[in-house]
Structure formats: structure tokens, C-alpha cells
């Protein structure tokens, strides 16, 4: 398809390399295609996103506690090619609708934990103010736990959040309500970093 918006416009080599390395341990998409067992699929996801759904890898998002609808939506959009994430493409391509539903529900039930990234208290405070100005809570809830199609931001990895917020601002990431690009319009890099520290601190 032609209408490809590369949302990881500056995909960091590290991210892809890391993802491919972890994925290859389980023979990437093949394992999923051949295995009907949910447990094996979860194991494949866990290789990068963390055993308990809390990622320890740079710029790889935590999935624990994500609203099931959000994860389902994103898996679907990556499978369809609306949202392009190279590392994920071979992994999601053969997933069936039922797989998407089951995986989403699995990760929604896990407990979100903070990553080991250092949260800067001053930045988090500034981020809280910006979050109020930009009314993040009107969709993501005051706790930033997310709901339905809106992701959990609380306790998400800082590096992932910064990268994602930039992609919404600079090359509007598809597969989300376009309200997100309006919500983040005009924010500076420093604002986005502060927002990420705030969310991670919760």
C-alpha cells in the first residue's frame, strides 16, 4: 500500500536490533503461525515486553495493565499495516482475530510496574502541570491508567513515551484518534520529556 506513514520515522537501530534479537530466539513469526497455543504466543511477546509485561528494554513499551481494547487495536493496526513497526510486522502478520483478543486480555490483567529508569522529580512536577494544561486526563483518566482505546501512560517507560509523543507531534502516528495530534500540537521536546517523567512516576 502506498499510504504508509512511517511513524517511527527515526527508528533507532538499537530498538530494531534488540527486538529482532529477542524475537529470533523464538523464530519470530513462524513460531506464532505454527503454534496454536496462547502460552507460546505470550512467551514470544514476553521476550521483549517483559515476562510480566513490564519491559526492561529501551524504547520497548510495557504492556502490563494496558486496556485490552488499546492493545487489541494496536495489534490489529500493525497487522493491517496501518501502523508500521518493522520489528512487530513479522510477529503480528499471521495472528488471527481471536489471538489479538486473547493476547490483549492477557496483558490487561498483568500489574503495571515502574521501569528502572530514573524519574526526575522536578521534571515529573513540570510534567504534571503540562498534563493539566493539555488535559491528558480527559481521555487517559486522572490516574493516566487509560481506558478502552486510550493507552495506559502511568508507569510506562520514559524513553518509549518520549519517542511516541514525538511521533504523534511530528509525523502524526496513525491508528489513534486524531485528537492526540491536536492535544500535543506545539509542545517542545522538553515538554514531552517532562510529560514522560510524570507518567512514569505514577
Amino acid at each position: 500500500m502506498i499510504d504508509i506513514v512511517v511513524n517511527w520515522r527515526r527508528p533507532l537501530a538499537f530498538v530494531l536490533a534488540a527486538a529482532f534479537v529477542c524475537a529470533s530466539q523464538f523464530h519470530a513469526g513462524d513460531a506464532l503461525a505454527q503454534s496454536g497455543a496462547l502460552a507460546e504466543k505470550i512467551q514470544l511477546c514476553s521476550a521483549c515486553h517483559g515476562e510480566d509485561g513490564n519491559s526492561k528494554l529501551e524504547k520497548i513499551p510495557s504492556l502490563a495493565g494496558q486496556p485490552a481494547f488499546y492493545t487489541l487495536n494496536q495489534l490489529f493496526l500493525m497487522r493491517e499495516g496501518v501502523r508500521k513497526v518493522e520489528a512487530m510486522a513479522p510477529i503480528v502478520k499471521d495472528l488471527k482475530d481471536d489471538d489479538l483478543t486473547n493476547l490483549s486480555q492477557h496483558f490487561a490483567a498483568l500489574a503495571p510496574k515502574r521501569s528502572d529508569e530514573a524519574v526526575d522529580a522536578a521534571l515529573a512536577k513540570k510534567g504534571a502541570e503540562i498534563a493539566t494544561q493539555r488535559r491528558c486526563s480527559s481521555c487517559h483518566l486522572p490516574s493516566l491508567a487509560g481506558q478502552e482505546q486510550m493507552p495506559r501512560l502511568a508507569r510506562q517507560r520514559i524513553d518509549y513515551l518520549v519517542e511516541t509523543l514525538k511521533s504523534y507531534r511530528d509525523s502524526p502516528r496513525p491508528g489513534a484518534d486524531t485528537a492526540m495530534s491536536a492535544a500535543i500540537a506545539g509542545a517542545t521536546d522538553a515538554d514531552l520529556t517532562a510529560l514522560a517523567h510524570y507518567a512514569a512516576s505514577l
Binding site: F69, V82, S138, P142, M150, R169, A182, A185, G186, T188
Partner: protein
């Protein structure tokens, strides 16, 4: 970034689109005089420029330090909007802060789980399932050979619904597009408008198994690069031109009226752009009155200004008032000044709606009925699919209403109901677009359920 003067880049849009701003107390009367050709910018009128600058400055003062942030962030500074910063104030609206848009499921329920039995219609009408299994299907256009094409939003697909051996089959024709809501069909070609991308698929109905490489028309149409409210609705008018929605890039903000909040028309290849209406928040449905040939369009009112509204609008562009101003962001509904974006005489020169269509009801598709199947009092009545509210504590809409037109105004009456349970405050479906079939029956798409219902009259149950 210059913010005070008139002679600045805010009124230009990538060297392509330009417009002389009308005096505020009168709508632009003629297009030819108002628009530059081929990207030549015409001199601005002094008065209009001054008052615009004034309101712009006020916006900036209100936004305070954001002006600096906007200037500092590269990509946004290059955007043509007057103020990309949303100015809505949910706290002042006193609405439940947890209200949020309803998601569209990417997986549709099976045919036996559809809410067909909940649908209520006037006596003599009947609803039946026409097609299902096309998650997120919204807009409908039909090819000359009977293929129904359906556009979607987030899901990124265009479906082709065909009939084989008496059974209807929905297949994914295109996927991976960014919100391809805008579809049009002409001379064997399907036009697909995704957000800021335009493609034409020639001889599409002969190639439904594998869509041919499209002709890309994006550069010709040169639509603004903002995404919010820019999933497209398009339709080919009685004049053979392509009419294209360009929404306002925020819930409520100071838009550049030369760029956002418009309906435009183009030659089919994307040349010859003209602005036919402006000051529109977001229309995602329009049709032409069968007799007067005037363009009627739905317009979704702003959010976070209270549960009561401002109400959505049904508008018409009166003859000789093309290019006219419909009020956004300063003036809503039948003359309600905006609480967050203010200026003196906010409604001066604004063309008032033909009818109000309810608070947050989200009127999308509109179709004037010209068939012979329905009783004759339905002739030339506009059917409007109301997608249903999200920014309202007590849900509203989720139905199809009729607009009975008389003398340029319209009265709204219920038609298809039952998909909203007001007691439980829950909904079972979201009517999105209406389509009139050759036999005079009417199709209603339900985005949430990935289904299309056929409404007929006088047929056996």
C-alpha cells in the same frame, strides 16, 4: 514568527491556497473575486485583516506562553493554522471529565449478534440486514456495476461489497490507509480520500480481486497537512466537481479561515480549487437538494462547552452565497457566541443553520430522498444519520432523523430509532451514513457493528 501584522505567512498555505478575507459583516459573495488563481495571493482587505489580527492577538494573550512554545516547535510553526493550541476548557463546561470518544471495534460481531431487532421505524417501514462483517464500515458509494464501496476511519480499510449467488460478500479491497473515509465514484474510477492522501483507482470494478495501482492526486489537491478533523468526506456535485471537506484542526481554536474549516470544490483531477463555504467546524456529510440544487451539509458542534451544546447544525449554502461564513470558531448554532474564543459581534455576517440537530448528536451522512418506494411525503426529505454523542453525560442521537425542508429552513423529526437506551444510557449501534438504492430502499451503515441495514417500505415482513 510574525504575529501582529497582516503581511505574514499565516494567510498562505504552501503557496497554493489563498483567499481574500471577507469583511466580517458580510459573507463572501463571489468566488471568482475572492480567490487567487494558481496560488497567487491577492492583497488582503485592510479592515478584515485588522480585525482578524485583533482576535488572533487576543487568542495569543489567552494562550499566554504557548505562543512562544508554538514558535519554538519547528513543525508546528510551519503549520498554517492560526493557533493549533486547543482552547477548550472542560472544567468550565462542568461536564464529567471522564467523557471520551467511543472506540470503534476493529472486530465486528457476527450477524446473529446485530441489534436489528432493536430498530424502530415508522409504520409500514422495515429494517433488514443488508451486509455485515466489515468492521468500521461507514461511507458508502456504489459503482456502476453494483459494487458497494465502503470507507472507514481508524481501521484503514476500504471494503468492496458484492453480490454472489444471492449472497452479499464483503471483502477488504484496500488496507493500510490512514482513515480513508472519503469515497467517490465516477466513470469507472473509485476516488479514495484518506487523511491528506488522494488516489484514483481506474476500472476498479473489473479488478476487485486485486486493486490496480492507483493514480495519486495528492499533490494536485494539496490539502493541509494537519490530521485532526481531516478524515475526509467527499462527493461529486451536480456540476461534476469534487466537493471536499477540510475540517478545523482542533475542538475549538482560532483557525485560519483560508485553510481550515471549509468545504472546497475541485476539478476531479484536483485542479481549480475554490472555497465554497468556510467557518465550519467539521462537516462529514453533504448532499444537494434535488430541486434547488443547493448544497446542504451537517456540521458537528464543539465539545467541552456543556452537555446542552452548542447543538450540531444542518446548514445550507444559499444561492449566491458561496464562500460564505458559517461562524466557527466564534459563533455556533443559532447565534451562540463561543465561551472560549471570543471576539466582538461574533455572529455578524454568519449564515445561520437551516436547523439544529441536537447537542453532540454527531450528524454525519445526509441524503435527500428521491426514490419512489417511500410514501410521497418523504420525497425530497433529507435523512441524516446521527452517529451519537460522546461529550454528553446523557447519551443522545444514535439514530436517523428526517429534515423536512421548507423555504431554506428545515424541521427535524425522528425516523430510525431504538439503538439508544436512554434508561440505561447505553447504545447498540452508531448510524453513520445513508445511501439510497435504485429500488428506492435506503441503506444505513452502522460503524460500530460493521453492518449495513436496508430500510424498505411496503414490503412483506
Amino acid at each position: 514568527m510574525p504575529i501582529g501584522g497582516c503581511d505574514d505567512a499565516r494567510l498562505r498555505t504552501g503557496g497554493h491556497l489563498s483567499e481574500t478575507l471577507a469583511k466580517e459583516d458580510q459573507p463572501v459573495a463571489t468566488l471568482g473575486a475572492a480567490l487567487g488563481r494558481n496560488g497567487r495571493e491577492l492583497p488582503h482587505q485592510g479592515e478584515a485583516c485588522m480585525s482578524l489580527s485583533t482576535s488572533y492577538r487576543r487568542g495569543l494573550i489567552a494562550a499566554g506562553s504557548f505562543a512562544f512554545l508554538i514558535a519554538a516547535a519547528g513543525p508546528i510553526a510551519a503549520q498554517p493554522g492560526f493557533s493549533p493550541m486547543d482552547k477548550s476548557n472542560p472544567a468550565a463546561s462542568k461536564q464529567d471529565g471522564n467523557l471520551k470518544p467511543h472506540p470503534t471495534p476493529p472486530i465486528a460481531p457476527s450477524a446473529d449478534k446485530l441489534p436489528l431487532d432493536k430498530i424502530k421505524l415508522p409504520s409500514g417501514f422495515k429494517a433488514e440486514l443488508w451486509s455485515s462483517g466489515h468492521p468500521g464500515g461507514r461511507t458508502m458509494v456504489m459503482g456502476d456495476k453494483g459494487t458497494m464501496f465502503m470507507g472507514t476511519r481508524v481501521i484503514g480499510r476500504v471494503y468492496a461489497v458484492t453480490e454472489k449467488g444471492g449472497k452479499r460478500e464483503a471483502k477488504v479491497l484496500l488496507q493500510g490507509l490512514t482513515q480513508p473515509n472519503g469515497l467517490a465514484f465516477k466513470d469507472g474510477s473509485l476516488y479514495v480520500f484518506a487523511i491528506n492522501k488522494v488516489y484514483r483507482y481506474d476500472k476498479i470494478e473489473d479488478n476487485l480481486d486485486k486493486a490496480p495501482e492507483p493514480v495519486e492526486l495528492t499533490a494536485n489537491y494539496n490539502l493541509p497537512d494537519t490530521v485532526h478533523h481531516n478524515w475526509k468526506y467527499v462527493a461529486i456535485g451536480p456540476d461534476g466537481k469534487m466537493y471536499v471537506q477540510v475540517g478545523s484542526n482542533c475542538n475549538i481554536c482560532e483557525i485560519n479561515p483560508g485553510v481550515h474549516g471549509q468545504i472546497r470544490r475541485y476539478n476531479l483531477d484536483g485542479t481549480g480549487m475554490e472555497i465554497v463555504a468556510r467557518g465550519i467546524r467539521n462537516t462529514v456529510g453533504f448532499d444537494w437538494h434535488p430541486v434547488t440544487k443547493e448544497l446542504w451539509f451537517t456540521d458537528n458542534g464543539r465539545d467541552w462547552a456543556g452537555n446542552a451544546g452548542p447543538e450540531d447544525e444542518l446548514n445550507r449554502i444559499p444561492k449566491n452565497m458561496e464562500g460564505g461564513n458559517f461562524g466557527f470558531p466564534y459563533c455556533h448554532a443559532m447565534g451562540t457566541p463561543d465561551p472560549d474564543v471570543k471576539r466582538p459581534n461574533p455572529c455578524a455576517g454568519v449564515i445561520m443553520p437551516a436547523a439544529l440537530t441536537g447537542p453532540h448528536s454527531a450528524g454525519l451522512g445526509i441524503k435527500f430522498y428521491t426514490g419512489d418506494m417511500f410514501p410521497k411525503q418523504y420525497k425530497n426529505v433529507a435523512f441524516i444519520a446521527r452517529h451519537g454523542s460522546w461529550n454528553r453525560e446523557q447519551k443522545y442521537g444514535y439514530d436517523v432523523v428526517m429534515a423536512k425542508v421548507a423555504g431554506g429552513k428545515a424541521t427535524i423529526a425522528p425516523f430510525l430509532q431504538g439503538l439508544l437506551n436512554t434508561e440505561k444510557n447505553e447504545f447498540y449501534g452508531r448510524p453513520s451514513y445513508v445511501f439510497q438504492m435504485k429500488d428506492g430502499s435506503m441503506l444505513v451503515s452502522d460503524e460500530t457493528n460493521g453492518a449495513v441495514y436496508r430500510i424498505s417500505y411496503g414490503e412483506k415482513k
